[in-house]
Assembly symmetry: C2
Homo-oligomer: 157 residues x 2
């Protein structure tokens, strides 16, 4: 148990450090990645927050930071005046691509590398099982594609 505690303490910062040369954090990577995978490279903040397991205040500030780097921009949602879309810019897409090698190598070296394939599988299973308990509202991406995301297909007129 103490081991797992240590792991939870050390892993996140270790991953962040590996990704540091790319100029973004692990969490920011997840944000950019989510946007890149989305329809029209845009997503509502609340949907994005769910998908990345972040609170809305946190995401809002991170988006502000990414906006400052011109990796994303905010666009009001036409369908719902309350909502805001985060939109991935070209620079943001480039940054994501640039960070990809670091990301994968970080994941590999810090986690997957040297493990039996079956162990990796069981780890995936395990994560899913644990998440189910942590996330009773099942708001997150675990369920493949929940009711989240989808944004609004603005320029589809």
């Amino acid at each position: 148990m103490a081991r797992l505690r240590a792991l939870l303490e050390l892993l996140p910062s270790a991953l962040d450090k590996e990704l540091a040369p790319a100029g973004i954090t692990f969490f920011e990577y997840a944000v950019l990645e989510s946007l890149a995978e989305s329809e029209n490279h845009r997503m509502r903040l609340s949907a994005l927050a769910s998908r990345t397991n972040a609170t809305l205040p946190r995401l809002s500030r991170v988006i502000t930071g990414l906006e400052r780097k011109d990796y994303v921009l905010r666009a009001p949602c036409e369908a719902d005046g309350r909502a805001t879309n985060a939109v991935l810019t070209d620079a943001g897409g480039a940054a994501l691509e640039g960070a990809l090698p670091l990301y994968t190598s970080a994941v590999r070296s810090k986690m997957l590398d040297g493990l039996e394939p079956e162990t990796v599988d069981s780890l995936a299973e395990l994560s899913l099982e644990l998440l189910r308990r942590l996330d009773p509202d099942k708001r997150m991406a675990v369920t493949a594609d929940g009711p989240a995301c989808a944004a609004d297909p603005i320029d589809a007129h």
Copy 2:
């Protein structure tokens, strides 16, 4: 992979929340526990920091907080004028005992519960393996009882 990211994001805060009624964080619990297990209920700050995988600045401040609650107190180390010992008080020991049920139930409900015993075992193995890579200096408690701790046996004269 996204699952594991979610897990790393959610687990720590979930554990902290479970422990909140006891008035301490998961990390503080680890600190108190370490002290309780130590010789004379005391440990040097640097040793304690290693054992809990924390930086020294962080630990220093957490200790200050615990001191304010009278759970620990600082005592200068007689053998080495630079060093400071954190000493567990009776109140601290009581707090630890009081938090124990919450702690165990948190660990069980959020993690171990519902898993195959063998899965738990492989998780332990896995943690150990991953830690070996995260902690090249092997300063931590993983190695059962490294060169850390030991404090100084003051009143053993």
